[in-house]
């Protein structure tokens, strides 16, 4: 991969003002800042940037598009809320991952990953439950179902804490990227660790928005959890 070519192509997109890169073990993280009079201000820029980055990289790519509007008005990470791809001139961050990794799947053998057993929604009780398992152990996390996908992220994080009390990450946002076919949703999530100021991003498909959000949360966390749990639960 030639980062110079990728960066030049990204910077030639209308409205792009800055780029940044972070090469991680499992993905390339690309940050794109956009704004000013030539910023088209629509979802096209996020898609274009993602496609360009994916075309230049052999590894999965996470593209974070940061939109800013006027002097001193720089967006902050937007929690939950509107779908960034249809939000128009958005304050805050728009972030999508490309290409989409497959949904988190149960894995056999000694792999110390957490497995999603079920995501249950109880509309009457306004509750979403996320059930996780690893080996013989199970954990359940709950949150208010009316929160939508971000509620599933909260519930998943709560369930994960049943296995890892040291988990420093808290939900930041969850966004539905697209409905790939009837009954198939693609959701991206972000989690943030206050202490290290580090973000983790996850992306997964699911049968519903909350199902996909729970899977995306595991996608974001499973790698660090695998390392931690390998030492404690095997």
């Amino acid at each position: 991969m030639n980062l110079d070519d990728l960066e030049l192509e990204l910077r030639k997109l209308p409205g792009v003002r800055a780029t940044g890169f972070s090469e991680r073990d499992d993905m390339l993280f690309v940050q794109v800042h956009a704004g000013g009079p030539d910023d088209p201000g629509d979802s096209g820029l996020a898609l274009q940037a993602s496609r360009i980055a994916a075309r230049h990289s052999e590894r999965p790519v996470a593209v974070e598009l940061v939109r800013w509007r006027e002097a001193g008005s720089v967006g902050s990470h937007a929690p939950g809320g509107a779908d960034p791809l249809v939000a128009g001139n958005g304050e805050g961050y728009v972030s999508i991952e490309e290409p989409a990794p497959t949904a988190v799947a149960p894995e056999a053998g000694p792999e110390p990953r957490l497995v999603l057993l079920a995501v249950l929604v109880f509309p009457d009780a306004d509750t979403v439950e996320v059930h996780l398992t690893r080996g013989d152990r199970r954990a359940i996390g709950r949150s208010s179902a009316s929160g939508g996908p971000i509620a599933a992220v909260h519930a998943t994080v709560e369930a994960v804490r049943g296995f890892s009390t040291m988990l420093p990450y808290a939900p930041v946002w969850a966004r539905t990227i697209e409905t790939t076919s009837p009954g198939r949703f693609l959701v991206a999530v972000a989690l943030f660790a206050q202490g290290t100021q580090a973000y983790r991003y996850g992306l997964a498909a699911g049968e519903s928005e909350v199902d996909a959000a729970a899977r995306a949360t595991l996608h974001a966390l499973n790698r660090i959890l695998a390392l931690e749990l390998q030492g404690t639960l095997t």
């Binding site: 960066e7 940044g20 075309r55 800013w68």
Partner: protein
């Protein structure tokens, strides 16, 4: 500092030097030379607009992001009094302009895809790799159907929109390692490494379906040729794909 400047100028003189690479080398060298925490370059360049570059190619953080609105120049943390920032900024601008010139020379301005010159070079390289390492690839030549009628009936802006739409679909669908180019007025070329020709119809179906708005793709016909099984030289591959394209066009209902 003059030593740093001389190094950068020598870098600029290298054949095929990467302008962006030199720019980051300059920022990183400034950080190293003065033992700084950070260095950021803000420029405003025709063809690119306002651009911010941070040492180490790092993402902007909450501190550096305020420079998005600052005047052009070189910013360091901490501030350095005797820094010859004019030299660094000028070298970076020249380096970046080299990249922009190179980019414009190899890309089609309307679609942003590679142009014919780039395509010829890419195809020559693909053929050479195939001969040397036996790496197969499929060459696809596409041509928009009824492009002249589209221009005549709806104006050249509609024709340009159709070309851009198809190019955008290629960008969405093609994989890492695939190449797409606009090789003529309404003609496109695709070089698809390790792609079985039986997979091409499916790929082009995805090109048709690639617009998230659901807008129909401009209709096109295509022909393909496979290297090395059908031919292993540039001219024969191109001729085979071109002949099949025109055969496909003749079969298409008017």
């Amino acid at each position: 500092m003059s030593e740093l400047g001389a190094d950068l100028v020598r870098e600029l003189a290298r054949p095929n030097a990467s302008g962006i690479g030199i720019l980051y080398r300059a920022l990183d060298d400034v950080v190293a030379y003065y033992d700084l925490d950070d260095a950021i370059l803000v420029i405003d360049e025709p063809g690119l607009g306002r651009q911010i570059f941070r040492a180490g190619r790092q993402p902007l953080d909450n501190g550096s992001v305020v420079l998005l609105e600052s005047t052009t120049g070189l910013y360091t943390e901490p501030h350095v009094r005797d820094l010859d920032d004019v030299l660094v900024v000028d070298v970076c601008l020249i380096a970046l302009r080299l990249d922009l010139l190179r980019y414009d020379a190899w890309h089609d301005p309307l679609t942003g895809l590679y142009d014919r010159r780039s395509f010829d070079r890419l195809l020559e390289n693909a053929v050479a790799r195939s001969r040397r390492y036996n790496w197969p690839f499929t060459l696809v030549i596409l041509d928009l159907d009824a492009f002249k009628a589209l221009n005549d009936q709806h104006g050249h802006a509609a024709g340009d929109d159709a070309l851009r739409s198809l190019a955008d679909r290629f960008r969405r669908v093609l994989r890492f390692g695939d190449d797409a180019a606009r090789i003529g007025g309404d003609e496109f070329g695709l070089i698809l490494p390790n792609t079985d020709p039986t997979d091409v119809p499916g790929l082009l179906e995805r090109v048709h379906a690639a617009d998230p708005t659901g807008a129909p793709a401009p209709p096109f016909s295509y022909g393909l040729a496979v290297c090395p099984t059908e031919a292993d030289d540039f001219d024969t591959l191109f001729r085979l794909a071109d002949e099949r394209l025109y055969a496909a066009k003749k079969r298409r209902p008017v």
